[in-house]
């Protein structure tokens, strides 16, 4: 199988502080890797490096053999960070139209309509996003992330503060993405949800990858097992 994502001995410093230390990770195409770890462990930094949002000082990173800032790499990328990444003063339709157009998608009108319908925002398609509820914004953000059918999905704590409907929608979208062969990397604190979806697990602690490997049945049965075996910290409650 092709390696979709490869990090080799990556170091990232903020001033003197090493946010990532000698991280090496290979993620196969079509797999779903859950990045686990506590706040400040380096999960977001790792995802930002993969998304080409921040440079690193040492090592090498490639997405399908390309550097993260290469046009070809970003064409295949869907990124959902901590912010929802949509414009408050545009309508849901305008937001989706804009993001689909810069991704080079065709049939923008029908694609936008399909996604508005899919995330349950068709009736409020022309309403400015600033009038949306939190749940509606989250669903719009999901549509924005998935609209161009990216081959790599980088999701930073995607389950955090989602309502039930958005969680169900995200799970469905992730499942579909896996079926079409997309590679998914998601960082999360929510062990159970992440382990249920993931095929692989990477545990980050103090900027180091403490464990990388396949997700096992034991991890599903006892989500805190990873922490007990591979970190010096007590397992999360």
């Amino acid at each position: 199988m092709t390696q979709a994502i490869e990090l080799t001995e990556v170091w990232k410093f903020y001033g003197d502080y090493a946010a990532l230390r000698d991280c090496t990770l290979a993620i196969q195409e079509g797999s779903c890797c859950a990045l686990l770890g506590r706040n400040g462990a380096g999960k977001t930094t790792l995802l930002r490096i993969l998304a080409g949002l921040t440079y690193f000082q040492r090592g090498a990173v490639s997405l399908f053999g390309e550097k993260p800032r290469a046009d070809n790499a970003r064409r295949q990328l869907g990124f959902l960070g901590h912010g929802i990444g949509v414009y408050e003063d545009l309508s849901a339709r305008e937001n989706l139209h804009f993001f689909a157009s810069i991704a080079g998608s065709s049939n923008l009108r029908s694609l936008t309509d399909t996604w508005l319908e899919r995330v349950g925002l068709a009736r409020v398609a022309t309403m400015p996003v600033r009038q949306f509820s939190r749940g509606m914004r989250q669903r719009l953000a999901l549509a924005r992330t998935f609209i161009h059918s990216p081959r790599i999905l980088l999701l930073d704590e995607p389950f955090t503060s989602l309502d039930d409907r958005a969680i169900a929608m995200l799970s469905e979208l992730l499942s579909e993405a896996r079926q079409r062969g997309a590679t998914i990397v998601l960082s999360t604190h929510q062990l159970r949800e992440a382990l249920a979806i993931a095929s692989h697990v990477a545990l980050v602690e103090n900027g180091r990858l403490r464990y990388t490997g396949e997700r096992t049945q034991e991890m599903l049965d006892d989500p805190a097992l990873l922490y007990r075996l591979h970190t010096e910290l007590s397992p999360p409650q």
Binding site: L53, R74, G81, Y87, L90, F98, I102
Partner: protein, 225 residues
């Protein structure tokens, strides 16, 4: 999507937001009008010399009003982390900066048009007869300051004092553009041929090209990290 199409998509999006909120347009236009009115009280605004220093007055106003427009350009991308979303999207960084410059350009041209109407009324300058010549000069200068504003707007977007830092950084860099703009505007307002001032036209064209190419080449470095 090529660079031009992507730039136009960014510009259209920014202008759609601007038309809806009118944040920078209202601020910049009202600032320009107030300054022009204050100067009209301070000086004998109907004096014959107005054609001689009208260019200086106008470009001083446009430069200050421009800073208000440029500050909003990238600040608009901060809520909801839209800037990160754009940088991770298949959108070239150059297209993002050029798109922002196009939106700046259009907004600033509207501010300039409104200001010129006020200038014509309160200073008794009949500039409509020279509208064509002024239009070319304004377009050349406005593109130069717009691309500068977009580049340095991107550089200062994450600074706490960006409203202060942006003008402090861009005004010194605008000097060649502003000198050329003042000279050419005065020439046109005095009904003299621009052919005698071609060195300033060359300065404008060269500045526009240099700033645009630098923005294009350095966009990724400017925006990432």
């Amino acid at each position: 999507m090529n660079l031009l199409q992507q730039s136009l998509a960014v510009a259209r999006k920014d202008l759609a937001i601007e038309l809806r909120t009118k944040e920078s347009l209202n601020a910049a236009a009202s600032f320009a009008i107030v300054i022009l009115l204050i100067f009209s009280f301070a000086f004998d605004s109907f004096a014959d010399e107005m054609n001689e220093f009208g260019g200086g007055l106008l470009w001083l106003v446009f430069a200050f009003a421009g800073a208000l427009v440029f500050n909003r350009g990238f600040a608009r991308e901060l809520p909801n982390e839209c800037l990160d979303t754009l940088l991770a999207a298949p959108l070239s960084a150059a297209a993002l900066i050029i798109g922002k410059a196009l939106a700046n350009f259009a907004t600033l041209l509207v501010v300039e048009l409104v200001s010129m109407i006020v200038f014509g009324i309160f200073y008794g300058v009949d500039w409509l007869a020279q509208a064509g010549g002024l239009g070319v000069v304004f377009a050349l200068v406005t593109w130069g300051v717009s691309i500068l504003g977009a580049v340095f707007g991107a550089l200062t977007v994450n600074l706490r004092l960006r409203e202060l830092m942006l003008p402090v950084i861009i005004y010194p860099l605008m000097i060649p553009l502003l000198i050329a703009a003042i000279e050419l505007t005065d020439t046109v307002l005095q009904h003299q041929p621009v052919s005698g001032q071609m060195q300033w036209v060359r300065v404008l064209v060269a500045s526009d090209i240099v700033f645009t190419v630098l923005a294009w080449v350095l966009a990724d470095t400017i925006l990432v990290n």
